[in-house]
């Protein structure tokens, strides 16, 4: 007897081999998609949005590419998700994690065809991942004690991260900037405190890090353009009519004169407020909300610089930099902490006027001004710099570093290979496959650079047979070289996250033996 359908009309079910095939293919397709962006000679992708305006993004950043894809395959969604998490958690390695997961699945597919049960593969992968991590831990370099060396480590990491991006031409310059900015954070990972201002025009080389703070705002007309030894009040308060907040209050009058009177009272109230603010003895007032014309005029009269409508992050940063508190009431001028800075002036970058606060008390926040030929260049530069900043801020907390250029993968592959030889049972096939997947990363790097990957990887493997070898692929010269000499470093935290989340994702996809897709939700308007 035919079974009545169990699912709803549009729902579908895929089982066993078919399900596994569908998820393998989906995941590998995604991995292959971003594969060509890996490494210093990786290519970029153009993304065109389907939304209004068909805006175009040119990028090399794995997470950005994957985020913008419309994917229907559930397994592919898992890969997109790990890339996103990698971006949030460590900021870099977003491509590597997807490529590694894809390679792991590719190897797994071969094993499944060779009649090895997915659970056995998973068990082998787990052992291999553990072993690979231990191998990395054995070889980490930690220069936390030696501040000077640590800084140079950071420089190298920043340069390695940046060299695959659009900023590779000026990587020293940007690496310097990123390291400076991160050192200012003093160990905090809150990258909000680093403001990136993008101004088209000039070249990338003209970008700079500003010690002080730059606010993308104009100074009100008739107010001083330059203030020395500024006392700043940072506020978040309504500077319009200042409504009565008690619920249900309304103005009800019976004659025109009364209207005038109340209007006068309102004005008086505003004036009172401005006076109270002025009583703090300030010469600069920054408000998050709008400042209407009337109070602005009052401030101008008093010779106080009033800046309106700074965004919330701007305010928070300003509070951080100048050491002032964000105020909303002004009745006790003596106890409100004011911010201080040596000089406020209006500066020009390109065609725009900006307000520059220099000589600030607490240098926790800073601004990076990016210059470049077009918006696309600037956007990509911002993403690249953001990657570098993320990696650096994480490295400041976890100071362990590794060599780059495919070196960690080769080290791991070697150890994993040895484990495979020692392990009895079917698991050893899976462990061996894991090491092959690891080697796929240097292979891809070499391929993307147009080098003979087979030759290079074979050479690399031979070199790594010696204990304590530092060999990796030097893409610039196109040969195997000593990574320590070339100064190619990577953060341990990034590599570890790549390894673990790629294994986790591959394991998750491998465990699936059935895909059930629900009927897509009907939109109301289709009724």
């Amino acid at each position: 007897m035919p079974i009545d359908k169990i699912f709803k009309d549009d729902a579908s079910e895929e089982k066993g081999e078919r399900a596994r095939m569908a998820s393998f293919i989906g995941a590998m397709a995604v991995a292959d998609l971003v594969k060509s962006t890996l490494g210093p000679k990786g290519m970029d992708k153009i993304l065109q949005s389907t939304g209004r305006g068909h805006s175009v993004t040119v990028t090399n950043d794995g997470a950005t590419i994957l985020k913008s894809l419309h994917i229907d395959n559930p397994a592919a969604k898992v890969l997109v998700d790990i890339s996103k998490v990698q971006d949030d958690e460590v900021g870099d390695g977003t491509t590597s994690v997807v490529v590694l997961a894809g390679e792991l699945l590719r190897e797994a597919e071969k094993l499944v065809t060779a009649k090895i049960h997915p659970m056995t593969i998973i068990a082998g992968y787990r052992m291999a991942a553990e072993c690979a991590r231990d191998a990395l831990l054995k070889r980490v370099i930690d220069n936390k004690e030696n501040a000077e060396k640590f800084r140079s480590d950071l420089m190298k990491i920043a340069m390695t991260t940046l060299c695959s991006k659009i900023l590779s031409q000026d990587k020293e310059h940007f690496a310097e900037m990123a390291v400076d900015a991160v050192f200012r954070l003093k160990g905090s990972t809150n990258l909000e405190a680093i403001q990136i201002i993008k101004k088209p025009g000039g070249s990338l080389r003209d970008s700079f890090l500003d010690e002080g703070f730059i606010l993308d705002k104009k100074i009100g007309i008739g107010q001083p353009k330059r203030i020395e030894n500024a006392k700043i009040l940072v506020a978040n308060t309504a500077m319009d009519t200042d409504k009565v907040k008690i619920y249900g209050a309304r103005v009800r009058v019976d004659s025109m004169t009364k209207v005038a009177e109340i209007e006068g009272a309102e004005k008086e109230k505003m004036k009172d407020k401005v006076n109270k603010i002025l009583a703090h003895g300030i010469n600069c007032f920054v408000n998050r909300q709008l400042i209407y014309n009337f109070p602005e005029e009052l401030f101008a009269d008093a010779g106080v610089l009033a800046i309106e409508h700074a965004d919330f992050e701007g305010i928070e940063r300003l509070g951080l930099v100048t050491g002032g508190e964000i105020a909303s009431t002004f009745d006790n001028p003596e106890s409100v902490k004011l911010g201080h800075c040596k000089l406020i002036e209006e500066i020009m970058i390109g065609e725009d006027k900006l307000i520059h606060f220099s000589g600030v008390e607490m240098g926790q926040a800073c601004s990076i001004v990016l210059r470049g030929a077009s918006h696309h260049v600037l956007d990509e530069a911002e993403r690249s710099l953001h990657d570098a900043l993320c990696v650096l801020s994480q490295t400041v907390n976890d100071s362990r570093v590794l060599l780059g250029g495919g070196w960690p993968e080769m080290v791991m592959a070697k150890e994993v290979d040895e484990l495979a030889r020692k392990t009895a049972g079917k698991k050893s096939h899976a462990i061996e496959a894991f090491s092959r997947a690891l080697v796929a990363i240097p292979t891809t790097i070499a391929d993307n650079a147009g080098l003979d990957s087979a030759e290079l990887v074979a050479q690399l493997r031979a070199e790594h047979h010696n204990e304590g070898c530092n060999a990796g692929i030097d893409v610039i010269s196109g040969a195997v070289g000593d990574m320590e000499e070339r100064g190619i470093y990577e953060a341990f935290k990034v590599k570890q996250a790549v390894l673990l989340s790629a294994t986790e994702a591959a394991e998750m996809i491998l465990r699936v033996d059935e895909i059930i897709t629900c009927a897509p939700r009907r939109r109301e308007d289709r009724m």
Binding site: F7, K245, K269, M508, R511
Partner: protein, 580 residues
């Protein structure tokens, strides 16, 4: 006359049906060109026409795909549907069970091994399949674990029932036979169960049982640490004297990022919020917490009112009052000695600054459930009005701190060392969102198992050992029953074998060979501890492998599965409502 009356009442039904149909049609606006009166007329004519076709019982619309199933056909169809659901879950059973990937209606992906979750999200349409979903859900509510097993069990029972029906045994007799057999099985379980002793200091047996539950999930990589976390959490909130655990006191919170190994148990509350003002202190020691459900905003009386401003003086007084109001609110909190304010609602900017100014850190927009948990943990009272704040109503916590994660600006608030340590939080970290969700479900299962053990200390051995033992007992009992039920009871015994069989199958063992070997071993040595060696450890003795399951969980599984199967067997007529 009787027949006439029947058809008359049916006629009435058809009319209500047709008017409903009309309403739907109107909503679809396919007939918008027709006047509504005319539409009604047409529809009625159609319903009448159906009567003329000589089908007075069910009104079927245009398509005849939906038919009415009766008698043995109905039972067969229902059994087939139930089996189909069980077949989906069968491969998820046991430590080597596979996962299912479910794509929801909005394109969201869930990967899980938990029977209840799979069925819940499967978007089932068939009525009998829905019964199976219900079955798994009730096992989830009652016991929390074994949701896959119960469905597999029910599927096996249905399969066996089908064979009995083919033999010509009446479904009711089969159902009754099952009922007797289930009683035998449950009693036998009671007999072979073992009690084990544990207390707060020696919770190793609890950990072992939780590990059995976790070993079938994706988190089995660190099942040991997760099992320990679950057991410690349950013990922290358990009322050992009353033998009861309120699982609501255990909050499970997850955040993407980090490793599974970073999952931790926090003796306190974790709130996914940050301080209302960025410059408030991030760490408060020895906090006195005011828990408020009133906003730091001017009052909004429920009754409608108007405050009329018609003179300048009134305007001025109102202004003063407003300022005073904010001031009083903050002062009130300060006066009772609060060092932290947790509020369910938002703050006005001015109030926010005043709080910050008076050095009174505050958290806003805290959800109702979390607020309650905080109140329980800190021993405070939830205060609905500022006037009612008193020092006694404040909650106390040794340490409150804000912690940030990753490269984004995500922060969470830890409230630790609370006055009343009865509320705990399990904080899960993991590589991606699906992992976190699956871990949450797995931890929930483990918590339920630990709770069940505290309620009832009896355990049975897992790995199919209990099922095999029951199967033997039921088989032996079958011969004692005279009558047709005997066959049904034997069928029940057969069905019990299907769980260990599925376990063996999923573990890549030869199912029939393994099962018969274990069964004969149990019978020969008369020891009910032999089960399927899923993990390839090398021994069949589940005592050695430390694979335990709770007695009530197993009993519940058998009882629930039998009940549902009985219900399905008793259906002899399926009238499917054609979709309007």
């Amino acid at each position: 006359a009787d027949l006439l009356g029947f058809s008359h009442s049916n006629h009435f039904r058809s009319e209500t049906h047709s008017s409903f149909f009309l309403a739907v049609r109107e909503k679809k606006k396919t007939r918008s060109e027709l006047g509504s009166d005319r539409g009604k007329f047409e529809a009625r004519k159609m319903a009448l026409a159906f009567d003329e076709f000589g089908r007075p019982f069910i009104i079927l619309r245009e398509q005849d795909q939906k038919t009415r199933l009766r008698g043995i056909d109905a039972q067969k169809a229902n059994i087939a549907a139930g089996k189909a659901v069980a077949r989906i879950l069968r491969s998820s059973l046991g430590p080597k069970g596979m996962d299912k990937m479910l794509q929801g209606p909005d394109g969201d992906v869930t990967i899980t091994n938990d029977g209840a979750t799979i069925l819940e999200q499967m978007d089932v349409d068939n009525q009998i399949a829905k019964l199976m979903v219900e079955l798994s859900r009730s096992q989830d509510y009652e016991i929390g674990d074994g949701t896959t097993g119960v469905v597999v069990m029910a599927g096996a029972l249905l399969e066996q029932a089908e064979r009995q029906l083919d033999r010509g045994i009446h479904p009711i007799r089969v159902a009754e036979g099952y009922e007797m057999a289930s009683r035998v099985a449950v009693e036998h379980l009671e007999r072979i169960s073992q009690k084990f002793e544990f207390d707060v200091n020696n919770f190793e047996p609890l950990v072992q049982t939780c590990m059995t539950t976790l070993s079938s999930k994706i988190v089995n990589r660190c099942k040991r640490s997760l099992a320990e976390i679950a057991v410690k959490a349950v013990l922290a909130v358990a009322d050992l004297e009353r033998r009861d655990v309120n699982l609501d006191l255990i909050k499970i919170e997850g955040k993407v990022g980090g490793n599974l190994e970073d999952t931790e148990l926090i003796y306190g509350i974790l709130v996914d919020k940050d301080m209302s003002h960025p410059q408030m202190p991030k760490q408060i020691e020895d906090a006195h917490i005011a828990i408020l459900t009133c906003p730091f905003e001017p009052p909004k009386p429920k009754t409608k009112h108007k405050v009329d401003i018609d003179t300048v003086e009134k305007f001025e007084t109102l202004r003063k009052q407003e300022q005073q109001y904010f001031d009083e609110m903050v002062q009130k909190c300060k006066d009772v000695g609060a060092t932290l304010v947790i509020c369910q609602w938002g703050f006005d900017d001015e109030a926010n600054h005043l709080l910050m100014h008076r050095n009174l850190p505050a958290v806003r927009w805290v959800g109702g459930v979390e607020l309650e948990l905080i109140a329980i943990a800190t021993g405070g009272r939830i205060v609905p009005r500022f006037q009612e704040l008193t020092p006694e109503k404040l909650g106390k916590a040794g340490m409150v701190r804000e912690k940030s994660f990753g490269t984004t600006k995500e922060r969470m608030l830890y409230i630790e060392h609370c006055a009343n340590s009865k509320a705990v939080t399990i904080f899960i970290r993991g590589g991606n969102k699906m992992m976190i969700d699956e871990t949450k479900r797995s931890i929930h299962d483990a918590l339920c198992v630990a709770r069940n053990l505290i309620r009832n200390k009896s355990i049975v051995y897992g790995g199919g050992a209990a099922e095999i033992a029951c199967s033997l007992a039921v088989d032996a009992a079958a011969d004692k029953y005279p009558g047709v039920e005997q066959y049904a009871i034997r069928a029940f015994a057969e069905a019990l074998d299907s769980v260990p069989m599925a376990l063996a199958e999923n573990s890549g063992l030869q199912p029939i060979e393994t099962l018969s070997a274990v069964k004969s071993q149990q019978l020969k040595e008369n020891i009910p501890f032999y089960g399927i060696d899923c993990n390839d450890v090398g021994t069949n003795d589940m005592r050695e492998q430390n694979v335990f399951e709770t007695l009530i969980g197993k009993q519940q599984q058998i009882l629930l599965a039998t009940q549902v199967v009985k219900m399905i067997l008793k259906i002899d007529d399926v009238i499917s409502n054609s979709e309007y």
